[in-house]
């Protein structure tokens, strides 16, 4: 596309225009994907709660042969039209610019993530050599958006959610960043594309502990699942978006759903091998052997989406299964368990990775096999250690509670 513009304007402007159109296409595709994502999530969530989920809305005349009424797939479109038609209310006392900019900031922080997501071997917005650091940096903008919404709404519940957002999102950023360092360390690069190319064996088989830490902290960063304290409706009404209506509320909702799916995409890219098709050598895809470059790219794209949907399904599963945490439990869990665990995990993986010879030049499945097996064994040992520590803590906690509730029957347990 750059070549097309070069006939009209200079090279610099041509690159700029091509990137602009690329950004428009990727951003719009991401936002439109939420229509499918929301429908999928509601369907899955319905099953988890023993109900059907959306099953009524379709297009065109109703009848036995109109398949568009199957599975209620048009529910999201109906919701979209509804939310566009709703009145946009801004209360007196709100801080105008802060209030109006907040939903844009939150949505922007999610859409910006899509710039470095490699959809296939040749399909990527920009292959930044600081891709993973960029992901973290952009994530921080969402926190600002939540704070702006919380403060600008001039509502005490919103303000409480703003405080919670700082406590939760900043805290959980630390294990997330430390977990992200592990794939970076193993691939030897921060570029998302290089990380995928280096996964001759998907990293999830070598470092399952890191994957677990990433998923937990990512879910907390997203503010959903058991970590939805920002909008805990039983405590602070709807949290930071209590004063928003119409499309502004819609933007918060879209960004949350899109963030969840983007988290699935990132899991697929960093731990599940991204667009790499299992048992297909990398050079087939890169040189377009047998099938041609476009077909390989398309297959890779489908592969990435399938892996992302699997990860997304796990995230919905967790969200629908676990009850909401209390704020002090949430912070204790992070600072006393997840942060130390992620640091130990990083140190162990780094030492093991350096101790195995030949890990700085992995160019085939055979090269990756021994390091992956060793790391898997080490990870299993870590899982056992963590399990032992948790079991011990649980025993102590149960003894402490029992001593408080039935002091006459149980002898006092040592407390610390």
């Amino acid at each position: 596309m750059t070549g097309l513009f070069e006939n009209i304007v200079s090279h610099g402007w041509a690159v700029f225009l091509a990137k602009l159109i690329g950004a428009f296409v990727v951003g719009t595709a991401g936002l439109l994907w939420t229509l499918i994502g929301i429908w999928f999530e509601r369907k899955v969530a319905g099953r988890f709660q023993d109900r059907l989920g959306p099953n009524r809305v379709g297009l065109g005349p109703k009848g036995r042969f109109n398949l568009s009424y199957k599975f209620g797939w048009a529910q999201s479109i109906a919701d979209l039209i509804k939310i566009f038609l709703k009145e946009d209310i801004r209360n007196t006392g709100t801080d105008r610019w802060t209030f109006n900019l907040a939903p844009i900031m939150v949505t922007m922080s999610v859409v910006l993530l899509w710039a470095v997501i490699p959809f296939s071997d040749g399909w990527i917005g920009t292959d930044l050599n600081v891709g993973v650091a960029y992901l973290i940096a952009v994530g921080g903008i969402g926190t600002i958006g939540v704070m702006m919404a919380g403060w600008g709404s001039n509502n005490k519940y919103s303000l409480l959610a703003g405080f919670r957002s700082v406590a939760q999102l900043i805290s959980y950023e630390i294990p997330m960043v430390v977990a992200l360092l592990v794939p970076v360390l193993m691939a030897g690069s921060m570029s998302t594309q290089t990380i995928i190319r280096q996964q001759y064996i998907a990293f999830m088989f070598a470092v399952p502990m890191t994957l677990l830490i990433f998923l937990i902290s990512g879910q907390a960063e997203n503010g959903r699942g058991p970590f939805d304290l920002l909008e805990g409706e039983s405590e602070i009404v709807a949290g930071f978006h209590v004063e928003y209506s119409g499309m502004k509320f819609g933007m918060f909702m879209v960004s949350e759903f899109l963030h969840a799916f983007t988290l699935g995409l990132l899991t697929a890219i960093l731990f599940m091998g991204g667009w790499r098709i299992p048992f297909v050598p990398l050079d087939w895809v890169q040189e377009g052997k047998y099938l041609g470059s476009f077909i390989w790219n398309l297959l890779g794209f489908v592969m990435l989406l399938s892996k992302a949907m699997i990860a997304y399904f796990v995230l919905i599963w967790v969200r629908m299964t676990l009850p909401r945490l209390r704020i002090d439990h949430l912070l204790n869990f992070n600072w006393k368990f997840l942060v130390p665990l992620s640091l130990i995990n990083l140190l162990v993986v780094a030492f093991v990775w350096k101790a195995i010879p030949g890990t700085d030049a992995i160019n085939s499945f055979a090269d990756a096999f021994i390091p992956s097996v060793v790391l898997l064994i080490v990870n299993m040992a870590m899982f056992l250690g963590v399990g032992a520590v948790l079991a011990d803590k649980g025993r102590q906690e149960r003894a402490r509670v029992a001593a408080r509730v039935y002091p006459e029957t149980v002898e006092a347990a040592p407390t610390n």
Partner: protein, 189 residues
């Protein structure tokens, strides 16, 4: 006009305009937001100078952590809107310091620019000359190696780490429920 120049002008306007608004606005929360805009402009300038890692770190550390904590402190304080007078009696000192700092920057930057081959850079358009040959291809790897190289920047790096560690331990001790801050200071002394 090249794209680089346009982007440079926009980023400069963000940096300077944001900085200006930080000190003139009468709403502390807005001042925090303007500070973020200004820092974001600086991050963009880093990227424009082919140092994307520094730019990203600027966003992570300054906007993602420091500015957000400043905002949290602002949100917890009373009477943050409608400050009566944004200027205090210290403004002459501040102006003098700004002038000194500006002169210092000019004296540092001019030799560097001459070394890069841009003579009389203040009046020429050579600022946009791309000297990509001097930039290492893999900047992050170079940066990482220099930071742990004993002959380069290992000592400053370690000293900064120890300083941050001390600050963190200090913060933990200050809020430790079992001990008051005075006791801690007595223990240390």
């Amino acid at each position: 006009m090249t794209v680089e120049l346009l982007v440079f002008l926009i980023l400069s306007a963000l940096t300077l305009g944001g900085g200006m608004l930080v000190v003139t606005t009468r709403n502390l929360f807005h001042a925090g937001l303007y500070l973020m805009i200004s820092l974001f402009g600086v991050a963009g300038l880093f990227v424009l100078l082919t140092a994307p890692f520094l730019g990203v770190v600027q966003v992570i550390v300054y906007i993602g952590a420091i500015a957000i904590l400043i905002m949290l402190a602002i949100m917890l304080s009373p009477n943050i809107t409608n400050l009566p007078n944004p200027f205090t009696a210290q403004w002459p000192v501040g102006a003098a310091l700004a002038v000194i700092f500006f002169v210092m920057l000019i004296t540092v930057v001019t030799p560097v620019m001459n070394e890069l081959g841009a003579d009389d850079w203040v009046n020429s358009d050579q600022l946009t000359v791309d000297t990509a040959g001097d930039v290492p291809a893999d900047g992050i790897a170079t940066l990482g190696e220099e930071l742990v190289d004993p002959h380069k920047y290992m000592l400053p790096f370690e000293v900064a780490s120890v300083l941050l560690m001390a600050a963190m331990i200090g913060a933990v001790l200050l809020v430790h429920p079992g001990k008051q801050a005075e006791d801690v200071i007595e223990d240390v002394a």
